[in-house]
């Protein structure tokens, strides 16, 4: 199969899922609002003291990103599973990891990228400086695809199971922890003057590793779940 063929398949998969997501804008928007609401709860819980909020901010935004990402995982495969498209995907001669990769990219575009753009607003709630907000956005940009990639494995494993949403969280949150540590840590490091290069490099490494390995694992998990 020629390279041009591969890209065409990928583009097709991404475009299909994006079109479907656009038709159900409500799903996408509810995840975004969940993100905002959760982040807003923390100051209400710990008080409005500025220094405390400033030190908590990156961590809180990142935890909320984790939770929002997990919430949106449910709809990654369930729609296709319900109407039989997923079965067709398993039967096509096109490589399943490639199709999965496309779906996850589309998922990230519709649920991860909006989080990146909400970061400045939320950073304002926590009194983060402009530099801190920029670093936060950069870490989210690098980190949210990783969350989608790893989350897809969990979504594929729990396809069609009862108690699905909570189960996915249990499976996937421990795996998210390194991304959380380095994502939030980067903002803190840059704020304290140490520089966030190391953190960003590690996030980049996670990204590359997950882009290469996760679609494989997800495809295997889909085959297991669909037998």
């Amino acid at each position: 199969m020629s390279d041009a063929g591969m890209f065409a398949i990928l583009r097709c998969a991404i475009r299909r899922d994006l079109v479907l997501a656009m038709r159900r804008r409500a799903d996408v928007l509810t995840t975004l609002f969940f993100f905002v609401i959760v982040v807003s709860l923390f100051p209400l819980g710990v008080g409005p003291e500025v220094n405390l909020l400033r030190s908590m901010g990156p961590g809180v935004v990142w935890v909320a990103a984790l939770l929002a990402s997990m919430l949106s995982l449910g709809r990654l495969f369930s729609g296709d599973h319900r109407d039989g498209t997923l079965e067709q995907m398993l039967l096509t001669p096109q490589p399943l990891p490639l199709l999965v990769f496309g779906k996850v990219v589309a998922h990230w575009l519709s649920s991860g990228v909006p989080l990146v753009f909400m970061a400045p607003v939320l950073g304002m709630q926590f009194g983060l400086s402009q530099d801190a907000v920029l670093v936060l956005m950069a870490t989210l940009l690098l980190g949210t695809p990783v969350l989608s990639m790893i989350g897809a494995i969990g979504a594929a494993l729990t396809l069609g199971l009862r108690g699905g949403g909570v189960l996915v969280s249990l499976l996937v949150l421990p795996l998210y922890i390194p991304v959380l540590i380095f994502g939030a840590g980067a903002v803190e490091a840059s704020a304290s003057g140490l520089g966030a290069q190391a953190h960003m490099s590690l996030l980049g490494a996670f990204l590359v590793a997950s882009l290469l390995l996760a679609p494989w694992a997800t495809a295997a998990a889909l085959r297991i779940s669909m037998e």
Binding site: G163, L170, L171, P174, I181, F182, A217
Partner: protein, 265 residues
């Protein structure tokens, strides 16, 4: 796997097992393994009991009082072996699960499922004893040091594995799905540990690292090793009992189980 490849694969196994003239793969069948396991259990239980007594004797009656920590340090004789076992069991569990996934042997997957609860138990013991050790040592029941935090995440990984298998009714799907999550988990464990270590040292600042163990007298290390081996023997015994239960449950419709049940009455 193509037909030709499969034949070559089994030829390979026959060649390898022919070498030793021992048919190891005989024990890959649940029936034969059930008998073998039953005969092994008493030996491993006895070994575990003897070594545990020896280890506790060393820990309480031979090892001297620590200069810095007083008598409280004696918790390490249970904390450290439990922590080692929880990590060791996770790797072994992932290996068995991987075999089950790749070779399609049911017994390998059953072993993985049998290992998980014991591993989770050791992780919990490590956390509990770690907290009780932390209180007199560092003044708080919970300190977010790298090892304790990683241990907590390991417990979550165990629970995730068990929850996933519990949620799936079809045993084969449960085996394979569990294998995927166990393999993904085992690959992530070093990454998680490194991340937590980084996070911890970054936030420690200039305070004394709580993960650095005090220089240990030779006898203390011996005590820990004896307890660790005791825990290992115990694990083997318990896992064999559990896997026998799982075999009975899964194979309950077969003739050999029916015969076994009849004889047991």
């Amino acid at each position: 796997m193509g037909h030709g490849r499969r034949i070559a694969y089994f030829d390979g196994i026959r060649w390898v097992t022919g070498l030793g003239n021992i048919n190891w793969f005989k024990y890959a069948s649940p029936v034969t393994f059930y008998g073998l396991a039953g005969r092994m259990i008493p030996w491993f239980s006895a070994a575990a009991a003897v070594l545990a007594v020896a280890g506790i004797y060393i820990g309480f009656f031979v090892a001297p009082t620590d200069f810095q920590q007083g008598e409280a340090y004696r918790i390490i004789f249970i904390h450290v072996p439990a922590s080692w076992m929880s990590m060791f069991i996770y790797v072994v569990m992932a290996v068995w699960a991987g075999f089950g996934l790749v070779l399609n042997t049911r017994l390998s997957s059953m072993m993985a499922s049998a290992l998980a609860p014991t591993g989770a138990m050791f992780a919990f013991i490590a956390l509990w004893t770690g907290a009780l050790w932390g209180r007199p040592m560092w003044g708080a029941y919970w300190v977010w040091d790298a090892r304790l935090t990683s241990e907590l995440i390991l417990l979550f990984l165990y629970i995730g594995f068990m929850a996933l298998q519990a949620a799936i009714d079809d045993p084969r799907r449960a085996d394979r799905a569990g294998a995927v999550i166990a393999l993904v988990g085992v690959v992530n464990v070093p990454i998680i540990y490194f991340s937590v270590l980084w996070w911890n040292t970054l936030h420690q600042g200039s305070s004394i690292s709580v993960t650095k163990a005090p220089a240990m007298a030779h006898i203390m290390l011996t005590g820990m090793l004896v307890m660790a081996i005791a825990a290992w023997m115990y694990t083997i015994a318990v896992v064999l009992v559990r896997v026998r239960c799982i075999i009975l449950e899964r194979e309950r419709h077969s003739a050999w189980v029916a015969d076994l049940v009849k004889e047991a009455k």
